[in-house]
Amino acid sequence: MSTDTAPPARPRLGVFKFASCDGCQLTLLDCEDELLGIATELEIAYFLEGSSAPAPGPYDLSLVEGSVSTPEHVDRIRRIRADSRHLVTIGACATAGGVQALRNHADVAEYLAAVYARPDYIETLATSTPISAHVPVDFELRGCPIDRGQLVEVITAFLAGRKPGIPDHAVCFACKRRGNVCVTVAHGTPCLGPVTHAGCGALCPTYGRGCYGCFGPAGTTNLPALVPLMHRDGMSDEDIGRFLRTFNVTAFTAVEEQEPGTIQKEGPR
């Protein structure tokens, strides 16, 4: 923080992007009812998607979107950490490497050759990793994309100097609270709700489909108990592997590794 004699007017917010789709920082602009209010409570000092006047740090709260996927990213996240009093990651990419972490299980040279005629022009890392793999993170907000209400809660909690009230339980809790009929029990629809972190409000089951895990694993999971149900509902190990290895591939893979033998190891990516 600045030690200038002038009192700091408002806490300074920085929003930073790494490898991502921009959807999580867009969530801030999608806070139509709260945006102008947030801007009176916080000075939006750095937000390239929203402002042409980026100001240098230090920042009181930095929201970081996206995963670390290039050599330049590794240096940049360290500089941002050094410039930030609180660093919060927003979204599956920043928290778990994102959908682009599918490369972590693949041959990136072959991926490059598949997409680019001249792979040698492209600078990339062989992995897409979460921010926490590189610097200490104060709070991780999950979701692909994050939930608007949860983002407002994180910002509010920061302003109030308290811990964000983001529950760690599974989607099933939200689904029951919403009064949904269980899609697995009633319709035999495979659903990752029992092992997925709450936050979306159990959207997929509300719309009649199974949860596809976009918030990553819940705080405690029992994947081995869920797998037989998915088998019963017609999924092969390969299907289950793909189901888990999508938007939070590294986080669900870590759960599989803690609970070995759950599904076949070499499922397709």
Binding site: K17, F18, A19, C21, D22, G23, C24, L26, T27, L29, D30, E32, D33, L35, L36, A39, I44, F47, L48, E49, G50, S51, S52, A53, P54, S69, H73, G98, V99, Q100, L102, R103, A106, V108, E110, Y111, L112, A114, V115, Y116, A117, Y121, I122, C144, P145, C200, L203, C204, T206, Y207, G208, R209, Y212, C214, D239, R242, T246, F247, P268, R269
Partner: protein, 456 residues
């Protein structure tokens, strides 16, 4: 810092702002002449086309929506159309109408975002919407309200505004009842007034002279303003050349992508020429198919009345707007149109008997294209007998527009230099405006403007 028009130097802009994605710009100026303008998209590669391989035929819609947080519906629906094409499935009737309604929601929220939060600050001399809100609060509040209505449509039909969950091959997981749609109709009536007021507000902006000399490329329908489907149609820059269309399956024969050393986005060309997709192209190709109200708004905004060519069907010539600064006007008119369309679809809605049609997997190749808010978005997938993706190709609008944007940049910087605007700050402002005119979605193309000017 004012720079002389001659001499050798390098100038850098740290970041292109108020766009979606990361881009650098390099300009070379020889004795006061811009000899090179290169847009370097160095959005890190995310390899979607590579990791789609081996995935089930049901997966591209959800997976590819993650390419872009601003236009996920465009990705979902282009992917659906391509897979359905490969599998021989046809989605029509109320399911097709619901898809158009969902897309109208994305058009309203995305175009309104660009108009009010990203683009308008350029015309009013502000760095961002927060600064702009101090002197233009009512306009900002109106923009946020309109954007919220677009989001409300996507949220109701899709579950959430970013990466909706309710889209699936063949239609939706669940279709809404008429009663559920009713609150949207109430909001849309207010949005119609807001959209009109936005057109009138934007029409008062000061538009610099400029012309984009690229071929215009958009989907066309015979009876409606193309959004979620259509036939690829080209309006050549030379007025002596007739417009032409080609079947979507021939897209790979006409649009070629090449890699350039300075960008992670591939550069696309149309029959070897520079082309532009997006609002200006859509208005030129399909403007005569706008609703009477939207046409009235276009006329009032000074866009010129589009009309079909005498004795022909298809794209019209009249009212073609080639000034990229005025794209904000076309967007405002398109928002008005999308609001009206949404109202119409809701008024005519009958809940379909089943929320989707079956799309059984089969081997083959399918093509899909829709009009993302920022231009034509094409997907192609090949599948094996088991319905696994063996090959994927995605051509986003910004990759197609890159050549036209670079030419805009060259012309606008040259005009600026000729006016004596040579400082880093002046050139940066010019360049950023030139790029923002096209509402680029840089995450899609492979984000950030770094201006690197070399002068000799």
């Amino acid at each position: 810092m004012s720079q002389p028009a001659t001499g050798s130097q390098v100038l850098r802009i740290p970041a292109l702002t108020r766009v979606e994605g990361e881009t650098a710009l390099r300009l070379r100026i020889d004795d006061g002449t811009v000899t090179e303008a290169r847009l370097s998209i160095y959005e890190p590669p995310r390899f979607f086309e590579a990791f789609l391989r081996g995935r089930a035929h049901t997966e591209p819609p959800d997976l590819t929506s993650r390419i872009c947080g601003i236009c996920p519906v465009a990705y979902q629906l282009s992917a659906c159309r391509a897979v359905e094409d490969a599998c021989g499935a046809v989605v029509d009737g109320q399911l097709a109408a619901l898809r158009r309604l969902l897309y109208c929601g994305e058009w309203i929220e995305s175009q309104t975002l660009h108009i009010h939060l990203l683009h308008a600050p350029d015309f009013l001399g502000h760095d961002d919407v927060i600064g702009m809100s101090r002197s233009h609060l009512a306009h900002v509040e109106r923009g946020l309200r309109l954007k919220q209505t677009g989001n409300a449509i996507v949220e109701l039909l899709g579950g959430r505004a970013i990466h909706p969950v309710n889209v699936r091959l063949g239609g939706f997981h669940r279709t809404p009842t008429r009663t559920e749609l009713r609150p949207l109709a109430e909001r849309l009536r207010i949005a119609l007034d807001d959209a009109w007021d936005t057109v009138r507000w934007v029409a008062r902006f000061d538009f610099p002279d400029a012309e984009c000399d690229a071929d215009l490329f958009a989907l066309a329908e015979t009876d409606t303003y193309a959004i979620e489907s259509g036939v690829p149609t080209v309006l050549p820059y030379e007025k002596t050349l007739p417009p032409r269309s080609f079947p979507l399956r021939d897209f790979p024969d006409h649009i070629t992508e090449e890699q350039v050393p300075h960008s992670t986005a591939l550069h696309a060309r149309l029959d070897g020429r520079r082309h532009l997709t997006g609002s200006l192209a859509r208005y030129a190709v399909s403007g005569h198919l706008l609703s009477p109200l939207a046409l009235e708004a276009a006329r009032e905004a000074g866009l010129g009345a589009p009309r079909p060519r005498a004795g022909t069907e298809g794209p019209g010539w009249g009212g073609v707007c080639r000034n990229p600064y005025r794209s904000i006007l076309v967007r405002a008119v398109e928002v008005l149109y999308a609001v009206e369309e949404a109202m119409r679809i809701i008024a005519e809605y009958e809940r379909p008997a089943h929320p989707y049609v079956e799309v059984p997997a089969r081997a083959g190749v399918g093509h899909g294209a829709t009009e993302a808010p920022r231009g034509l978005l094409y997907h192609r997938y090949a599948f094996d007998d088991a319905g696994r993706v063996t090959d994927a190709c995605i051509v986003p609008p910004t990759a197609q527009n890159q050549g036209a944007i670079e030419e805009d940049l060259r012309r606008m910087v040259q005009a600026g230099l000729d006016r004596g605007e040579g400082s880093e700050a002046e050139l940066t402002r010019l360049c950023e405006r030139a790029v923002r005119n096209h509402d680029p979605c840089i995450s899609c193309s492979a984000h950030f403007l770094e201006l690197d000017i070399e002068r000799t």
